[in-house]
Symmetry: C2
Subunit: 216 residues, 2 copies
């Protein structure tokens, strides 16, 4: 009898592990998606080199994350193999220049980099930027953006996740699937939105109306 109960207890524990949903809820396809094309964040210094001393960028439109905006200005990025023109600058200026390209841009530029979170630039390759008033050879800062979810601390509580946690996202539809290695970025200056790039969006047929599900 006691033995049975021991087995039962072990089984209950094992079973619990398997039936406890790792997903938040079945119907929580409620995270909006923002799809990024290749783009650049410039330091004040590099902005001066590319556009002239004291140049002020012009806002084209606000982005969904508070305080972030697309600029009217674009630059050309050049690698050893080729160049990509009209790469959009996003404002405001940052402490370091950061160039976020698509995986497919490797072939055009002849430069390989890796998925990194915004700001995590150490050891990444540099690239040449060309603007109307000059060019800059950056020492680092060329990345493919790691997919991530911006959220407020309240959202994080609701999803039972924390800033920096790595989760997965599920996407429905005829090209649906699961992306792993999605970083949670929870802070007071964020709005709930999952950021993926154009290739990630196209591969799973995601558009601006798509809602995704967070999976732990």
């Amino acid at each position: 009898m006691e033995k049975h109960e021991d087995v039962l207890k072990l089984l209950m524990e094992a079973l619990q592990e398997h039936i406890t949903p790792t997903e938040v809820k079945e119907d929580t396809y409620d995270i909006p998606v923002g799809v990024s094309n290749r783009h650049i964040h410039l330091s004040k210094e590099d902005l001066n080199h590319l556009f002239g001393e004291g140049y002020q960028m012009s806002k084209l439109k606000d982005l969904s994350q508070p305080g972030q905006y697309a600029c009217k200005e674009t630059v050309t990025i050049c690698g050893p193999k080729g160049a990509i023109e009209k790469v959009r600058i996003l404002g405001p200026v940052r402490s370091k220049t950061q160039v976020e390209i698509l995986e497919g841009d490797f072939y055009k530029l002849g430069k390989v980099t890796e998925p990194r979170l915004s700001g995590d630039l150490q050891g990444t390759p540099g690239i040449t930027l060309v603007g109307p008033k000059g060019s800059v050879q950056t020492k680092e800062g060329l990345i493919v953006a790691q997919r991530h979810i911006h959220m407020t601390p309240e959202d994080a509580k609701r999803f039972d996740v924390h800033d920096g946690q790595v989760v997965s996202i599920e996407i429905k539809g005829p090209r649906g699937g699961i992306y792993k290695n999605v970083a949670v970025r929870a802070n007071d200056s964020s709005l709930l939105e999952c950021h993926i790039d154009i290739e990630e969006a196209n591969a799973m047929n995601v558009n601006s109306l798509t809602k995704i599900k967070l999976i732990k």
Copy 2:
């Protein structure tokens, strides 16, 4: 005592359902990947219109699937919004012309289509093709290829799947994840290979050395 055993039995069954791997085996990342760019299969009739009566295509290189090859010839495809030049023709000719584009090409062409398997063209939109000797307005055949796995009937037996079954594939790595809705195409004229397009490959950082895992 009997009641305990009943509970135990039910638990064992429930547990079994959860611990029985739906995956073939933990280490079966053994399916090679073929990555496709946009391409065209031409009917004999359309080939004649585009390149001249009786024209014979020139082989550029063999593809991995037996009898299939890339041709030296390319065509331009044109939608209401724009054109894409140098789209590779694959041989040999087929009974129907089929144009396989990338999801991202929708924006360039101004034409929307859906994921379809090769040959399943009914109800798909047409597109304009331009060659050196003429142009063709196709009535249907514009698709985004549904991801699929070619295999022999022996492979199908090994994976315990059948021709036409829809499975998932898992990809490892920093951009890893799972693609659902992958069709099994099992027949004697196939070689084991999973076909995805460039956007699907880039989104999960897949290259020609990547091996993927089949998940049911």
